[in-house]
């Protein structure tokens, strides 16, 4: 149940889906060297709090999506840690979660009064969690669900990922034998889910594992379980592709386990956009819709030599044209929260 009827986005490429698409297809790297902290990657109002910053860009993404909302709609905000800065260093109320004030501010700014609203924080798979919940809300009778997804690279986030040593020392090279991590990025995205025209959400599967909280189990069993439950095989894959040794290994093993050694063509977006954390799966859902509509699969432009023993069909060369009908988006999250969504271009 559900289609992605419209969407909008702001990233390091600027405002709009076309800006993001052009960056990916041209092989431009939008966040390498960005260290986060005091300055935002995406320009915005001077002196703004993280909440104000993200609210501004979510409003821009919402305007691009331009939904025609019916009387019964819901709004879900997906995010992770970008907003924590306001609470930790700007005297926030520690008894209140930091995401809800952003949702409140957005709803006020757009003068929206949804029937249902909440925030979801499922680590890097937050936006796919939101998509799964949106389908439940449609089944309950809502006309539309607006998914908002946003995150920022604040001091808090930057310190955390530096401490985990997941930041690349050079360029992020997904599935490369010399991969060493990612750069962080920012994004604010909006997707409108309803039962109407657009790209069909053929399936969304969430899976969990109680493994070590910072990495998936090396068996890849959890992601493979999610993939195996999807109703159709994909024509192409937009992988999580963080370029960390363990993430990419897990995806390679899961794709091989479910689709065999001859996988569909695989690409990813984080080499270009950076890892946008709670917004990252929303970035990929939007790019997946564009791949399906445009019939072109952008490459892993920074990857030079695929890791030894990997059998996946990684897209290293120029963009590949193809009549893609189904596209998989996969996501791996800290705390063992993994997810996969299958989108379908309808005739």
């Amino acid at each position: 149940m559900g289609t992605i009827s419209s969407y909008g986005i702001v990233t390091g490429a600027g405002s709009g889906v076309d800006a993001l698409w052009n960056a990916a297809i041209d092989g431009r790297d939008l966040s390498s060297g960005y260290r986060g902290g005091r300055a935002f990657l995406i320009p915005g109002p001077r002196g703004a709090s993280v909440r104000e910053h993200l609210s501004t860009h979510l409003s821009s993404a919402y305007r691009e999506a331009a939904p025609e909302l019916g009387p019964r709609f819901g709004v879900i905000l997906a995010s992770t840690k970008g907003l924590s800065n306001d609470f930790i260093w700007r005297d926030g109320d520690l008894s209140r979660d930091p995401l809800t004030p952003l949702l409140d501010e957005f709803l006020r700014a757009q003068d929206l009064q949804p029937e249902k609203r909440l925030c979801i924080s499922n680590a890097c798979s937050s936006a796919l969690g939101a998509l799964a919940l949106a389908r439940i809300w449609l089944a309950q009778g809502l006309d539309q669900v607006v998914i908002l997804a946003a995150d920022a690279v604040t001091e808090f986030v930057s310190q955390g990922f530096q401490s985990l040593k997941l930041i690349s020392g050079g360029r992020p090279r997904p599935f490369d034998r010399a991969r060493d991590g990612f750069w962080l990025g920012e994004a604010a995205a909006c997707l409108v889910i309803e039962n109407a025209g657009g790209i069909r959400v053929a399936g969304v599967e969430l899976d969990t594992e109680g493994s070590v909280v910072t990495r998936p189990a090396t068996s890849s069993v959890s992601l493979a379980r999610a993939l195996a439950k999807l109703p159709l095989a994909p024509d192409a894959i937009l992988a999580h592709a963080t370029a960390t040794p363990i993430n990419d290994e897990t995806e390679e093993l899961a794709f091989r386990a479910v689709y065999g050694a001859a996988t569909p063509p695989i690409t990813g977006s984080k080499w270009c956009v950076g890892h946008t954390l709670g917004a990252s799966a929303a970035v990929d859902l939007i790019l997946a819709c564009e791949i399906l509509k445009r019939g072109r699969l952008f490459a892993l432009a920074t990857t030079q030599e695929v890791a030894e023993g990997y059998t996946g069909d990684y897209t290293l060369g120029p963009a590949r044209a193809g009549a893609y009908r189904t596209l998989l988006v996969s996501s791996l999250g800290f705390g063992g929260m993994h997810a996969a969504a299958l989108l379908e271009l309808r005739a």
């Binding site: 992770t80 840690k81 924590s84 609470f87 930790i88 260093w89 926030g92 520690l94 008894s95 209140r96 979660d97 930091p98 995401l99 809800t100 609203r117 909440l118 925030c119 979801i120 924080s121 499922n122 680590a123 969690g129 799964a132 919940l133 439940i136 089944a139 309950q140 808090f156 310190q159 955390g160 990922f161 530096q162 401490s163 985990l164 040593k165 599967e205 969430l206 899976d207 969990t208 594992e209 109680g210 493994s211 070590v212 909280v213 910072t214 959890s222 379980r225 999250g333 800290f334 705390g335 063992g336 929260m337």
Partner: protein
């Protein structure tokens, strides 16, 4: 709906009984410890596993965030628990369960929202749902709760 609860002080005074089952149990934050301990204490009453798990994260991980922000140099072990969904990892390990899990926030109505979503999912799927929550009730005191929601017999 059945509620299971456990109030506790954190840090705990000793190693938990389940220490051998959870890697790096000593780095868990209060919500993660509390949910794991509650499940362990009530496991004989929690034998029917859910179809879906909701984590009601009131206050998100703000206290863990503040603790991480004070640490110099920044501790990776503390940082991973600043993602509120990670409070489920030890619980999942002890449950030996996998499935759809949603970490929700909607303060000041986070728990009510999670219970409402849980009821909706029970109705749609006809499968049981668990809602897990941990609240800070005093300086170092917490209350962990697991609510089990089951389909009404004969209703589909």
């Amino acid at each position: 709906m059945t509620e299971f609860r456990f109030e506790f002080s954190f840090p705990a005074s000793g190693a938990p009984v389940w220490q051998d089952r959870v890697e790096r149990w000593y780095s868990l934050d209060a919500p993660a410890y509390g949910l794991a301990e509650l499940f362990w204490r009530e496991q004989e009453h929690l034998t029917e596993r859910p179809g879906t798990l909701f984590l009601a994260s009131s206050g998100a991980s703000n206290r863990t965030d503040a603790s991480f922000a004070r640490t110099r140099p920044p501790s990776p072990a503390k940082f991973v628990h600043t993602l509120p969904n990670t409070r489920a990892a030890a619980l999942l390990r002890l449950m030996d369960w996998n499935g759809p899990t949603y970490c929700l926030q909607n303060d000041p109505a986070t728990l009510e929202t999670a219970l409402s979503e849980g009821r909706s999912v029970v109705e749609i799927t006809s499968l049981p749902v668990w809602v897990a929550s941990v609240e800070n009730i005093a300086a170092d005191r917490y209350r962990a709760r697991i609510f089990t929601l089951k389909p009404v017999a004969g209703k589909r």
